[in-house]
């Protein structure tokens, strides 16, 4: 920001931020489509909007993969970058967007909730997340974070008739403001110290200057706290179960996956670039001094160690006593954030690769689980408890089978993708010497497998307690769920391709300047 003399051209803007622009245009167009589109059936209106949204995401995804991924010049005016890392995480977010928009068609039909602006908000949420991931400027990160959050707050409150939805959204909103204030405070201090908000310049200036100055540490703590809130690490996690339980199931799935992917992605990018010596790997003479930033590891690593441990324990432990499956999945998603922070903690190339891999896997299996959940639910909140799931294995064999598969994957049982993902995360932590943490983490997995399998148990090994009528299962919904199930199996059996891509992506972090 301090240097306003950047060269700027529209073609460069299109090249680097094209994915974002596509989403912005799409959302603006869709607002009008929503206004002017008249159909006989309300559900057709929603279906059209859903398909158009999914299409916009797919176009953006195509653009990201084909045009932005192979780019060499990756930075635009010191604000956005299109290095492979951001493109990878953005692709995950877009994928989550595709799943969310397609599943939402079925969700809205089942809930008789025909509102087109839902999809526009979803587009804005995805746009915000991608902008945040591509940003290399702290202020841009903050603004994009707010764009994402504000859209997600509104989506969380989308069930107007449900008090739970409103209450969850208000809690999310209040705590979100609180968390943003932390982040902003850290931003201001960083700016004050370095005179810049560009993360690579911050790294450069900090590493030659007094990087152990207490104010740097305060700024670091505040920035981390703000992001931990979005990542829902204990003790910044407490909004998550309430919001996840109250929100529409698809939005819950979106929050648990895409928002979290965005937060993890931006944490990795911001932390790695600005506060670790990763830029020194690039071989650029300008950034050789960043090797000094390794000294900061003694501060943030122990903190992350404890938070990872607490997150895994609290998430898994509290999930055990949950009777509501949606809330149980909320706690489990906290626990998964704990597993992923093992990879952040390792802070080596394996760790970053493992986090990226896990983000993909986690998105797939979580969307699967929530997708089945909303179908069994019928109308939001009608059949969400464990009691309702009793004996469904015979009434709805396909749904139960899919749910069991997704849950087994979350429990990390081979040969599903969840196993491979966890394996990489723990292997990365072990490689970096965190034996005790890895051992305790594996122990929490034992607890986790208990509550995941309890659901499977309810499906197949108990008699139905009451009549549960699943919602209408449309062709689209089933297609998405089957694709997700195939994904879980595919990445469990043949993960090598994705691992390779994730590895290329994580290497590009050293090239952000």
């Amino acid at each position: 920001m301090s240097d306003l003399g950047f060269s700027f051209s529209l073609s460069q803007l299109w090249q680097i931020a094209g994915g974002q622009l596509i989403l912005i245009f799409a959302s603006l167009i869709l607002i009008f489509v929503d206004l002017w589109l008249t159909t006989d059936e309300e559900s057709d209106h929603v279906a059209t909007m859903g398909w158009l949204t999914a299409l916009s995401f797919l176009v953006a995804l195509w653009y990201l993969v084909h045009r932005e991924w192979p780019l060499h010049e990756v930075v635009l005016a010191g604000v956005f970058s299109a290095e492979k890392f951001s493109v990878f995480v953005s692709a995950v977010v877009l994928l989550a967007g595709v799943f969310a928009s397609l599943l939402s068609i079925g969700y809205m039909r089942n809930n008789r909730m025909f509102r087109g602006e839902y999809f526009v908000l979803l587009l804005f949420a995805v746009y915000g997340t991608i902008a945040m991931l591509q940003a290399v400027d702290l202020l841009m990160i903050f603004i994009a974070l707010e764009v994402m959050s504000l859209s997600v707050y509104s989506l969380a409150a989308f069930l107007k008739d449900s008090r739970k939805s409103q209450e969850g959204a208000l809690k999310y909103f209040l705590l979100g403001c609180f968390g943003s204030a932390f982040f902003l405070f850290g931003l201001a201090l960083t700016y004050g110290l370095t005179g810049t908000v560009n993360i690579t310049k911050i790294a450069q200036i900090l590493s030659v200057g007094p990087f152990k100055h207490p104010v740097v540490l305060v700024a670091l703590a505040m920035l981390m706290a703000g992001l931990f809130f979005k990542m829902s690490l204990v003790p910044f996690h407490m909004w998550a179960p309430d919001v996840y339980e109250g929100s529409p199931s698809i939005i819950t799935a979106y929050m648990a996956t895409a928002v979290k992917a965005g937060a993890f992605g931006v944490f990795l990018k911001l932390m790695s670039v600005a506060f670790t010596p990763i830029l020194s790997l690039s071989g650029q003479p300008d950034f050789q001094s960043t090797i000094n930033l390794g000294m900061l590891a003694v501060y943030w690593k122990p903190v992350l160690w404890w938070l990872a441990l607490l997150t895994m324990f609290v998430g898994n432990l509290v999930a055990v006593s949950q009777q509501n499956v949606k809330r149980m999945l909320a706690y489990s998603s906290i626990a998964h954030a704990g597993y992923m922070s093992l990879g952040l903690l390792a802070a080596n190339s394996e760790g970053r690769m493992a986090v990226l891999f896990y983000l993909v896997v986690y998105t797939i299996m979580n969307f699967g689980a929530f997708g089945v959940l909303f179908l069994i639910d019928g109308k939001e909140g009608k059949a969400q408890t464990l009691e309702d799931y009793r004996g469904l294995g015979y009434r709805y064999p396909t749904l139960s089978f899919l749910m069991s598969l997704f849950l087994l994957s979350m429990a990390g049982l081979p040969p599903t993708a969840g196993f491979i993902g966890k394996f990489y995360l723990f292997a990365a932590a072990i490689k970096q010497g965190y034996f005790v943490l890895a051992a305790l983490g594996v122990m929490t997995c034992v607890i986790a497998s208990y509550y995941y399998l309890r659901v499977v148990w309810k499906f197949y090994m108990e008699e139905p307690a009451r009549e549960v009528v699943a919602g209408n299962i449309s062709f689209v919904t089933m297609g998405v769920l089957i694709c997700l199930a195939l994904g879980v199996m595919y990445f469990g059996i043949l993960p090598a391709g994705l691992v390779h891509i994730a590895n290329v992506a994580q290497q590009s972090l050293a090239m952000v300047f």
Partner: protein
């Protein structure tokens, strides 16, 4: 030929998929056909590949088939690869063979079950995972199978889930197994951290190389830790102290399942794993010491508990625990091939025993209490004879298979090179347990098949011999219980035969274990015992076995509890005898029953029910539940509490950063 290894797991997988997805639609005949033929073909493939292996010179008997690269972490590459060497060859033959027989038996046994398709689907799934476990060429693939068989076992134990007790048994098995898996995972991670590889073909040569070049000391702490952690995994899967408690409860599942999973195959996975890891274990004598003592204790305690049970399947369950103890004695006294040998013969005779118990149960309409039985031999001659064969085998009576394998285990225990004194103690405990085994098995036989029928009239009318689809498998297994041991006739018995015999089994497995033998030979002098000692050991174990049978005969045939008083009056000459009976009963009661009673009640009630079940397994679950609620209370719904926790987190972080 090695290109076809993948077929062995693939065929059961196809069977599982067809039966699982379309089972409800394709009809019973088709389900049976697919279920059995997939396993039959897998067995055939195994036989052909092993035959091919036997044709090769000894040095080349190891096939690996890499399907694809599965996981890559830094310099660690894990392939989805299968390996067939003599050790896995033995296992794969036993597993596919016994599974095939049991699949056929199940046709008759489960004929009237409403979820017939589900049963065959699960059973095929089990075989798939078990073959993956055995054939896996690295620990991760083994772990895939290891978890998978656990899942299959959980589903099959709880097969008749409508009864609470059965459902609980399934959960118990799963939870206890997960505790064991935790150890296995940690052991695996520790191997990875220490040696940087999890593939057998890389890891073992590397360990050996490091040992030979002095980079790795004998009995180094890390090796002991690895071995003990893996052993914790084995105690879960293979039902050893302290994690054996799930196995007796697992008998709640259908009987063929007990025969296949909880007797013949899955529970022996731990033994296989230890034998597979033999080089690491050989380098950790302290771990072996702990294991040998624990497995001897398991063998003995489980056998004593078996004496007091009346439920046939529970007797067999405790007997399985006890026999698994023998296998672990074998592998922990460096006699890896003896352990595997006992595993094989046990698979035959224990599967046979369970299937016979299933036949009896069928005939008795689900009643398993042997106090209601008696005299069934006349009505079920084939079941009787086959079960007699298997009982003679488990009691260690020559020339049945159990004699050769058990004798080899005990003989090798006597000669434990690392700790000779401990070896002798283990041998003695094992010998005592062998006597008890013979006693309780023949108690079971006599109470069930001899004497008068003690059940109701209606039951008596219903008792009948089983159809051929059930007796056929019994006969096959009984035959194997007889001849299965002949492949491992010890060399010391050469003088008995007109031709030269060698221990074919040990020679066949030798390539897998030769490095371990070299390590032992280089570390300690292997004690040499004369053939006289071997003969004495052998005859003592036979004597103990026969003694146990005689005692059972004396108590349950000569003096059954129901002997009518009238008989005593009529035959005056027998007064003396009757007096003696009382006399011996008293002695029996005070000398044998009471101590046994106290011992087994102690083992059962205090160790099993209270300590292990209560404090250990259920205790953990209780603490998790309590902890869950306690931590959950913090989430009290007030937004300001949440904010306060966030601020607290931030303040603690700042505190840590600045001070």
């Amino acid at each position: 030929m090695e290109g076809y290894i993948f077929l062995i797991p693939l065929l059961p997988l196809i069977g599982f998929l067809i039966n699982g997805l379309f089972g409800q639609k394709i009809g019973k005949w088709m389900i049976t056909y697919i279920g059995c033929s997939s396993i039959g073909l897998a067995f055939l493939t195994s036989v052909l590949i092993v035959y091919h292996m036997l044709c090769l010179p000894v040095g080349e008997r190891q096939f690996t088939q890499v399907l694809w690269h599965w996981i890559t972490v830094g310099n660690l590459h894990i392939d989805l690869a299968f390996m067939l060497d003599p050790l896995s060859a033995v296992m794969i033959l036993v597993v596919t063979g016994v599974s095939f027989v049991i699949h056929i038996y199940s046709k008759g046994y489960m004929a009237h079950d409403e979820s017939y398709w589900r049963y065959y689907a699960y059973l095929n799934m089990f075989v798939f995972f078990m073959t993956v476990l055995i054939l896996g060429a690295n620990y991760v693939v083994m772990f895939v199978g290891w978890e998978g068989v656990g899942l299959a076992s959980y589903l099959l134990i709880g097969f008749w889930y409508k009864e609470n007790l059965i459902a609980d048994a399934g959960k118990k098995a799963f939870i206890v197994n997960r505790v064991g898996d935790f150890g296995f995972l940690l052991g695996m991670f520790l191997i990875f951290v220490t040696f940087g590889s999890l593939s057998y073909t890389e890891l073992f040569p590397k360990v050996l190389h490091m040992y030979e070049h002095g980079l790795l000391a004998m009995n180094s702490p890390v090796m002991i830790a690895i071995c003990l952690l893996l052993f914790v995994g084995a105690t879960g899967k293979s039902a050893q102290i302290p994690l054996y408690v799930w196995l007796p409860d697992a008998m709640a599942g259908p009987t063929p399942v007990s025969a296949l999973i909880h007797a013949a195959t899955m529970v022996t996975a731990g033994v296989y794993m230890v034998a597979r890891t033999n080089i690491l274990y050989t380098l950790a004598p302290t771990a072996l010491l702990v294991m040998s003592l624990m497995s001897a204790a398991t063998a003995f305690i489980a056998a004593t508990i078996g004496v007091l049970q009346y439920d046939i399947k529970r007797v067999l369950a405790y007997s399985t625990v006890s026999q698994l103890g023998y296998m672990f004695i074998g592998v922990s006294v460096l006699a890896y091939s003896a352990g595997i040998f006992h595993l094989m013969s046990h698979a035959f005779f224990k599967a046979c025993l369970f299937l016979c118990a299933g036949a009896v149960m069928h005939a008795m309409r689900g009643d398993l209490d042997m106090r209601d039985m008696g005299g069934l031999a006349k009505k079920m001659p084939i079941t009787y004879v086959t079960m007699l064969f298997a009982s003679l085998a488990i009691s260690g009576i020559p020339p049945f298979s159990g004699f050769f394998s058990k004798d080899e285990v005990l003989g090798k225990a006597f000669m434990f090179p690392y700790y000779p004194v401990v070896g002798k103690i283990v041998w003695f405990i094992g010998l005592a347990a062998a006597g008890i085994t013979a006693f309780y098995m023949f108690r079971l036989m006599f109470m069930t098949f001899h004497g008068e029928f003690r059940g109701t009239e209606e039951e008596a009318r219903h008792v009948h011999e089983m159809p051929f689809s059930m007796t056929g498998p019994l006969m096959v297994l009984a035959f194997l219980s007889l001849v299965g041991g002949w492949v491992g006739i010890p060399e010391v018995m050469n003088s008995l035969f007109p031709f030269h015999v060698t221990n074919l089994f040990e020679n066949f497995l030798d390539p897998v274990f030769e490095h371990s033998h070299e390590i032992v030979a280089g570390f300690v002098t292997i004690p040499h015992y004369s053939s006289t000692v071997e003969w004495i050991l052998m005859s003592s174990s036979v004597a103990v076995g026969i003694g146990g049978i005689c005692l059972a005969y004396y108590i349950y045939i000569c003096h059954p509890d129901t002997l009518p008083q009238k008989l005593a009056h009529t035959f005056a000459l027998h007064y003396k005898l009757i007096y003696n009976k009382y006399y011996i009963d008293e002695i029996y009661y005070h000398v044998v029953v009471l101590p046994f009673y106290f011992l087994s009640t102690f083992c059962w009630k205090v160790i099993d029910a209270f300590l292990i079940d209560g404090v250990g397994v259920n205790g953990q679950a209780w603490w998790v539940q309590r902890g869950s609620r306690a931590v959950g209370l913090v989430q009290n719904g007030y937004v300001q509490t949440y904010g306060a926790f966030m601020l607290l987190g931030l303040v603690m972080m700042l505190w840590f950063f600045i001070f």
